[in-house]
């Protein structure tokens, strides 16, 4: 037993290959595409714009409204039935809460900033990829932010603490698996997303969180690089 070597050959604290790009959806105020391994997420920001239905309006500040959706062909197995599901609604909620601490919408009362996250292909870690894409898209839209947000999963595969689980690790059969998606805001040293799916000991979790925090900082550097690249003058 014991998970000595990762199935795809990565180090235990190594991220999958990442590509990030902003401004990919010209119709949107801000947009981004974030791909980690074989999981790809688009995010588009529309707004601040008028919010309907009216009872959702907040006269004190603008409302952030995130919506997570998987494209019908983005699942590894069967086709994903279009439309909202219990799963997508919950992920929309936690995505919203992961980003809320960094955005300042005080200047936009009664308005909404819509963030649409769309996965075009998935291989585990889709909510975290979506949060990274949304973080970049919000910055690209010029929304006032205290920091960017780095989201990544940590977890346990057969007793070993690992970073950024892919699907074959989540589905590992020969031992217990825990999947812990998290989002980290470095400048505030705060965690804004934390879920856990599976068995993990407290000490392993704390070890994993440190691993995740370090990775989140790397993710934010990648986000910043992509944001800067949009404004670079071609040579």
């Amino acid at each position: 037993m014991a998970y000595k070597k990762r199935l795809d050959g990565r180090k235990f604290d190594e991220l999958r290959p990442i590509t990030a790009e902003v401004g990919v959806i010209p119709n949107a105020i801000g947009s981004a595409y974030f791909k980690i391994g074989k999981t790809g997420a688009y995010a588009a920001v529309y707004g601040p714009r008028d919010l309907y239905p009216r009872f959702l309006k907040n006269p004190k500040r603008g409302v952030l409204r995130c919506n997570y959706n998987m494209m019908p062909f983005s699942g590894a197995g069967d086709r994903v039935r279009p439309g909202t599901s219990r799963r997508s609604k919950e992920i929309s909620l936690v995505t919203n809460q992961a980003l809320l601490p960094v955005v300042n919408l005080d200047d936009f009362p009664n308005s909404v900033v819509d963030v649409f996250v769309e996965l075009n292909e998935t291989d585990a870690g889709s909510r975290c990829a979506g949060i990274c894409a949304a973080s970049m898209a919000l910055a690209d839209a010029g929304i006032e932010m205290k920091d960017l947000v780095g989201a990544i999963s940590i977890g346990i595969v057969d007793g070993q603490v690992v970073l950024d689980l892919d699907y074959q690790e989540e589905a590992y059969k020969d031992g217990h698996v825990a999947d812990v998606p998290m989002a980290y805001i470095p400048s505030m040293d705060k965690i804004s997303l934390l879920q856990c799916d599976g068995r993990i000991k407290k000490d392993d979790l704390l070890k994993g969180l440190e691993m995740g925090k370090k990775a989140a900082k790397q993710l934010i550097e990648i986000q910043k690089k992509a944001l800067k690249a949009k404004f670079e003058v071609p040579k």
């Binding site: 010209p26 688009y42 588009a44 019908p72 983005s74 590894a76 279009p82 649409f116």
Partner: protein, 257 residues
């Protein structure tokens, strides 16, 4: 409709100018990439200028319809997600998405592009179903033509997954492609005032009088049509629009991979 905008569009068309500087019968830059979605059995990303659409093919197996026990089936669906345009709202497909999906479906189905008989696994019991989903990434006009080309490209790109009894093993793809007989190409022509244009941007679509989508084969046979818009067309209009469609289909066909 915004009359000011319409007058403006027509004023410029009278001088042979469009908002983005193109000629009336000129398409934007076209690009087609296939095999872009690893979780789909076939896929394509098609761009006409700023309009970008992904089409993905997923296979399912199921019982055939009782009236055609030896034929597989196909479903084309469009998800006009609010990410791709400020004009789209969340929720179940509205009439715009439904018309789009049905017009794309018709072009392929009625041309006999796919030999559905070859999708039969066991007579009367088990057949393949091809599901093609159209998802715009950025919707900036002419979804009909972009989606049609994306769906055709995705179908041509698709490989059947392996079948384990009556279950699909999506992890293993065979080398077998979907049996294709024809390759229809759709071209939509818009009528605005006295002008006929192709490949509209949203400002042009919003002020159209009528549109005609025509799907044609290589030998110029018409296989499907859809007239849209609130105003009617003369026979003369229809003749001109079909002629433009046939001419432009030859250009677009070169991009079909």
């Amino acid at each position: 409709m915004n009359k000011g905008k319409r007058d403006h569009v027509i004023h410029y068309l009278n001088n042979n100018i469009r908002y983005d500087g193109r000629k009336k019968e000129e398409y934007r830059e076209i690009s087609v990439e296939t095999g872009v979605i690893r979780t789909a059995e076939g896929s394509a990303r098609v761009k006409f200028g700023e309009t970008e659409v992904i089409a993905g093919v997923k296979f399912e197996v199921g019982k055939p319809y009782p009236d055609s026990p030896d034929a597989g089936t196909m479903m084309v669906n469009a998800e006009l997600i609010p990410m791709s345009s400020p004009d789209f709202e969340s929720g179940p497909p509205g009439i715009v998405a439904i018309e789009l999906a049905r017009v794309v479906d018709r072009g392929i189905r009625e041309s006999g592009a796919i030999d559905f008989k070859k999708l039969c696994i066991k007579h009367g019991e088990l057949v393949w179903t091809i599901i093609v989903d159209i998802v715009p990434v950025n919707a900036f006009g002419n979804l009909f033509d972009v989606a049609s080309l994306a769906v055709m490209s995705a179908i041509k790109n698709a490989k059947f997954p392996e079948l384990d009894g009556e279950k699909i093993d999506y992890k293993k793809l065979t080398k077998n492609s979907i049996p294709m007989e024809e390759e229809p190409i759709s071209v939509t022509v818009l009528k605005i005032g006295d002008h006929l244009i192709v490949d509209p941007i949203p400002d042009e679509e919003k002020v159209l009088d009528a549109r005609l989508t025509v799907a044609t084969l290589k030998d110029e046979t018409i296989v499907a049509m859809q007239k849209g818009g609130e105003l009617s067309l003369s026979t003369e209009d229809i003749k001109s629009m079909i002629e433009i469609s046939i001419k432009k289909a030859k250009e677009i066909r070169k991009f079909l991979k």
